[in-house]
Amino acid sequence: MFKLVTFRRFTAVLGGVVAAVLVAVVVFFVIYAWPAIRLNGWHFFTSNTWNTGNLYANPIERNGRMILPGAHYGILFLIAGTLLSTLIAVVLAVPIGAMAAVFLAECVPAQLRTAVSFFVELLAAIPSVVFGLWGYVVVIPFLGHHVYPWMTAHLGFLPFFSGAPGSGYGLLTAGLVLALMIVPLITATVRDALVSQYRGLRDAALALGATRFETLWTVQLPATRRVLVGSGILATGRALGETMAVLMISGNALNYLPRNIYSPISTMASFIVSQLDSALQDPTGLAVRSLGEVALALLLIAVVVNGAARLLLYYQDRTTGTTT
């Protein structure tokens, strides 16, 4: 079989497009953002001002590149908004998702499990923009008028819970909606891990006299640890890159670090949508390339986070033989 075009090669080349796309996107953004990376340096991550400069003035030269006077690109507020909203989402979604998985795996009879699970898994099917719409018309008025004022009044003694409750747009709202968007991933993975678990573990613990919940808490859940961590990291990756819902409910703060959990924020992904139009107005092209640098940073975070989660889950597959 010394044919040049074998079926195997054919599928490898055609299927290789999938890998090529990822490489192309990463390489493209490195090249595209390179002028901005050179000019912005480390200040890009540590300074808190995104200013495209005076669009009507003549460009001036700095470090051998033409830029608009007053132009300065720093995204500390984006990093803060992205990480904090993701942190809130993950801190809420992991325990709630895992406990909902416990309910589905242990309290629902096997024949009904698929149907009942659908209620949670449907959350994964709802488009981001529909979450945004729901957040905009239902969640924000409710939280802004009723919940947040109550929270400042009664939980104000906690750090970050005091201060102006705002209008409902902001960090906590974004975190809550993001939590709902990522929770089905955690619930589905942990439920499957619990259901497909080796039954001998459970039976041994029950035989020793442990109650069903003690068995679950001390034997069954710890056995899913790696799956829980893996799906938690995957969920983190999703929350970091979420765009539309966050764009519609976060308040789109500019050059502003959150003071409390009600503060308006922007995330890196939502900032790209909200600023691309105005960045295109910059005749030197530096604004749009700096925005490309935001995309590159987001891209690299996503690659690292998803890569780590996958390696962890592959390892789980190999050690236990279960598929996730």
């Binding site: 599928t11 299927g15 497009v17 999938v18 990822l22 309290c107 003690e214 992904a269 490309g292 996503a302």
Partner: protein, 294 residues
């Protein structure tokens, strides 16, 4: 607890047992509440969309094109279907090929690399894909906002889902089938395309449906690739922006007009209903293919 503290005749052993029983009850209650919380959120989202969308839905939505922030959504419905179909058309060949390669030639050194990169591609933020296609296709290639640019963005997003489900589908084909075919002298391509593909087809279709649902619901990768248009598609693949339903949700809900809100709710209802139907269909397909004696 009340019983335990009220009576001093309760032995430490009984108290211990009571505490264990209470912890048990508390644990199950917490897990039930966690599930109910998520179920309530799902119901709230669908109720909010269904109630408002049903009010907004009338015949004009399906028969008229958008006029500013009023009129109908015919252009957007057509655009959504066009972009999703185009994206699938572009994504299915490489996605299924990658799935076949991973399942059938998994011993290859390239296979783990491809699987890993496909899985990482799932996590790529969709706006990054949109930005990439915008600069490359819309600006550098000069296509402008267009159906083709939008379809390419959706194809990139669909690829890893189709790859993964195709791999799983081909893996589920019993090895005996391949061995039998090979024993009769069939080649690789014959075994895979004529023997395995018909068996795997319904599971591959599940992945295609999943990709379709994602494509119909995507917004961020289309904003700067497909653009928006009030008119019906004129058949041009480039230099002609296309409207789509998710844009109407995002752009019209923040307009101050009642007519704009109605369009946004109607679009949200159409998109959600479509996604719901596809999710149920793909589940039924999956359940049917798992049934023994298929």
């Amino acid at each position: 607890m009340a019983a335990a503290s009220a009576s001093s005749f309760v032995s430490p052993r009984q108290r211990h047992r009571l505490r264990r029983r209470l912890t048990d009850g508390l644990g199950w209650t917490v897990s039930t509440v966690a599930f109910l919380l998520l179920g309530a959120a799902t119901v709230s989202i669908f109720w909010a969309i269904a109630a408002r969308g049903a009010h907004a839905l009338d015949l004009a939505i399906f028969t008229q094109v958008t006029q500013g922030t009023a009129g109908g959504l015919l252009n957007a419905i057509e655009g959504t279907l066009l972009l999703a179909a185009g994206g699938l058309l572009l994504a299915i060949p490489p996605g299924v090929a990658a799935g076949i390669f991973l399942a059938e030639f998994g011993a290859s050194r390239f296979a783990p690399v491809l699987r890993f990169m496909s899985d990482v591609l799932v996590g790529l933020p969709s706006i990054v894909v949109g930005y990439f296609v915008y600069i490359v296709a819309v600006v550098d290639l000069g296509w402008g906002f267009s159906a083709l640019a939008g379809a390419i963005a959706l194809a990139i997003i669909s690829l890893p889902y189709i790859t993964r489900t195709s791999e799983m589908a081909f893996r589920q084909v019993p090895a005996d089938m391949r061995d039998a075919a090979r024993a009769l002298g069939a080649t690789d391509s014959h075994v895979i395309l004529r023997i395995c593909l018909p068996i795997a087809a319904s599971n591959v279709l599940t992945g295609v449906l999943l990709a379709l649902a994602i494509s119909v619901g995507e917004t961020a990768p289309l904003l700067y690739t497909a653009g928006w248009s009030n008119y019906m598609w004129n058949g041009h693949l480039t230099h002609e922006p296309v409207g789509y339903l998710t844009y109407a949700i995002w752009a019209f809900i923040t307009e101050p007009f009642q007519s704009a809100h109605a369009l946004a709710y109607a679009a949200a209802l159409l998109v959600s209903a479509f996604v719901l139907v596809i999710s149920i269909a793909s589940r039924m397909l999956m359940a049917a293919s798992r049934r023994p004696g298929r």
